[in-house]
């Protein structure tokens, strides 16, 4: 207590001193303090980066380790004898409990995610134009409904969805998943696209209309090229949502192994062969890499896009 008090009173007194030497010393001390601060901030940054990277690094390095290295009593950061055998095993489907090669599930996951993106982008773009270009009754109601729907978690609805899709005979098929994912992605994609559509000047469309262009023509020729960057961002959002989704795929696909998406395959594999860490990490790496690539592609847009629903863009 008193120490702090003393510092506070002595500090201004010493700076008030007019001797040039003490002033020089003061400046030198300030410079060292600044350097210490910079070094410690950079050190903290480095620690954060390493701790954050470590799990992913371990996943990838384990995927390349032969099994005797994985189960050795002292873990090593890097494989001393790197091998592709784990990848070969998941690729041939040898250790996958006989449910198939990992590439089958890669294909399922990509198929589901891509068709989800197509449907969601089309429907969301139409709705975004409606909301951004027109003032109409229920507009506010619709927007608030989107905000609320966006927050309803799938696990609160999963029982009803399961029973509905069961009666539609769509369980165990990728079609069922696509329908749920596309509808689930709509609220956020509409919100994101709405901001992009709103930035396209209305005058452009009016000019085209005066020149005799019809509604659909204006849409295809003027609006669509201009909101294309927005469409890319929303498409990636919809893709990632579908690619990561777990609970719906888990309940819908049940024992239909051939229709498994990557997350369901990975957990199934993990449940069946809980200790086959090499192949599990290889499968996990194969599953993670596309998501990482997509994130790197859109890194600039990620912030704006995800908060667009909340903070006006």
């Amino acid at each position: 207590m008193t120490g702090i008090h003393l510092d506070a009173t002595t500090l201004p007194a010493s700076t008030a001193g007019t001797q040039p030497r003490s002033r020089l010393k003061e400046a030198g001390r300030a410079r060292t303090a600044k350097r210490v601060k910079a070094v410690s901030l950079n050190g903290l940054g480095l620690v954060i980066a390493i701790v954050t990277l470590l799990p992913i690094f371990l996943m990838i390095s384990t995927a390349f380790k032969p099994s005797q290295e994985i189960y050795s009593l002292t873990p090593h950061l890097l494989p001393s004898h790197p091998t592709l055998s784990n990848f070969r095993q998941v690729s041939s489907g040898q250790v996958t409990g006989g449910i198939g090669s990992v590439w089958l599930f890669v294909r399922n996951s990509f198929g589901v995610a891509l068709i989800t993106v197509l449907i969601a982008s089309l429907l969301a773009l139409l709705a975004a134009v409606g909301v951004a270009r027109f003032r109409f009754r229920f507009r506010t109601t619709f927007l608030i409904m989107l905000l609320i729907v966006q927050m309803i978690p799938l696990n609160a609805l999963i029982i009803a969805l399961f029973l509905d899709f069961k009666s539609l005979n769509l369980l165990g098929s990728l079609t069922g998943l696509v329908l749920v994912y596309a509808a689930q992605a709509l609220p956020v994609t509409i919100w994101m696209l709405r901001n992009f559509v709103a930035t396209v000047p209305k005058e452009l469309e009016e000019a085209a209309a005066i020149d005799g262009a019809t509604g659909p023509k204006i849409f295809w020729r003027i609006l669509l090229p201009l909101v294309a960057p927005g469409l890319v961002a929303t498409s990636i959002f919809a893709f990632i949502t579908a690619y990561n989704e777990f609970i719906v795929a888990l309940t819908f696909l049940g024992q239909t192994h051939g229709a498994y998406t990557l997350p369901i395959f990975l957990t199934y594999f993990f449940g069946q062969h809980g200790a086959a860490w090499g192949p599990i990490m290889a499968a996990s790496t194969i599953y993670t890499i596309p998501a990482v690539i997509f994130f790197l592609v859109v890194r600039r847009r990620l912030v704006g896009g995800l908060t667009a629903g909340a903070v006006k863009g």
Binding site: L41, N42, L46, T52, L53, P55, I56, L58, M59, I70, T74, L123, L126, A127, G130, V131, R133, F142, L143, L146, L147, M151, I152, P153, N155, A156, L157, I158, I159, A160, F162, L163, D164, L179, A183, L186, P187, G215, F246, I247, L250, T251, L262, P263, L266, T267, F270, I280, M281, S284, T288, A291, L296, R299, L306, T307, G309, A310, V311, K312
Partner: protein
């Protein structure tokens, strides 16, 4: 009706009488365009979100279960029976406690870590920032299932790095637990949720950090400069200048984090599974009621409605803050 007079069918002179023209003039006259544009999306949302939500409410007031699904018995209305049964169920209270405690611990922690990283990204040089933001992006991009399997393995007694690391540390630091064989996932709710907390913070802080960074960039440098000239310390500048300006961003981050962290089915299913009821959270318990044999959809419905209601309270806060920031214009 006045609209017909205000808006004469302008296109009609093109090809009078053709069906296409007649339809488009009908749309124009009744100002249907926005509704038609919204209709496909609305149908999708109605079928996959709104109708199931209504069904969940219906189920929660019925004795819907296996005999009703097979048709052996007729479905009956049971009033609030499912809700009273839930409120007398100790597993429900245990699950609710786990869900609430998890959110209460993880939300502030991930906001704090995200803020520190955001501030660092704002202060550090280009190379260091790029290194941190790239590693954060990788954590963020990792699919939840991959992350859960990965962390399960790192915290595994059978060759996991964390257990190995802890067993190598001196006893005075980490206690005398036999860390080499410590099973984080099955020993109890506390270790299991500690593991899930670290996983969720690892995946959640990057989004918070980049959002905070984006917010920091909007604060004019002169404000901080002025405060520094007036002799304010960095700590004081952060709380008195930065924080008040960032309040709207933090409100949104807080609400989103609460909603995300209250609702962590994926990670808890992979790490905890359906083995220990004392480690359940609400999401796991809903799933258990509906998809372990015999299914009790009525009780599951009641649980889902309670779960959705708690989230709705938070969502109302989210919607109100969005509206106040002019999101609807």
């Amino acid at each position: 009706m006045a609209e017909t007079i205000q808006h004469p069918p302008a296109v009609l002179h093109n090809r009078p009488g053709s069906t296409r023209v007649r339809i488009s003039s009908f749309i124009r006259r009744h100002k249907l365009a926005p509704y038609l544009l919204l209709l496909p999306a609305l149908i999708g949302i109605a079928l996959v979100v709104l109708w199931p939500l209504v069904q969940m409410v219906i189920f929660s007031f019925q004795n819907y279960g296996l005999p009703q699904v097979t048709g052996a018995l007729a479905t009956q209305w049971v009033g609030f029976g499912n809700f009273t049964a839930t409120f007398h169920d100790s597993v429900f209270w245990q699950s609710l406690r786990n869900s609430v405690l998890f959110a209460v611990v993880v939300v502030p922690l991930s906001l704090a870590v995200g803020t520190v990283v955001g501030l660092l990204l704002n202060r550090l040089g280009k190379k260091m920032s790029l290194l941190i933001s790239t590693s954060a992006l990788l954590a963020w991009a990792t699919p939840p299932v991959s992350g859960a399997v990965l962390f399960f393995w790192m915290f595994n007694p059978d060759g996991g790095v964390v257990d190995w690391g802890l067993s190598k540390m001196p006893h005075w630091l980490v206690g005398s637990t036999n860390w080499a064989n410590y099973n984080w996932a099955t020993t109890g709710a506390l270790p299991a949720y500690t593991l899930i907390s670290i996983l969720v913070i690892w995946q959640a802080f990057p989004f918070i950090a980049v959002t905070v960074l984006a917010g920091l960039k909007t604060i004019p440098a002169e404000l901080n400069e002025a405060a520094r000239v007036d002799g304010a310390s960095a700590w004081r500048i952060f709380w008195r200048v930065t924080m008040p300006l960032m309040k709207p961003i933090y409100l949104v981050l807080l609400l989103l984090s609460v909603i995300w962290d209250f609702n962590i089915f994926t990670q808890s299913d992979v790490i905890i599974g359906l083995a220990n009821t004392n480690e359940y959270n609400l999401s796991l318990y809903i799933y258990d009621k509906a998809f372990t044999f015999p299914p009790t959809y009525g009780l599951g419905g009641a649980l889902a409605i309670i779960f959705a209601f708690i989230l709705l309270v938070v969502t109302v806060g989210y919607v109100r803050s969005s509206v106040r920031q002019g999101a609807l214009t």
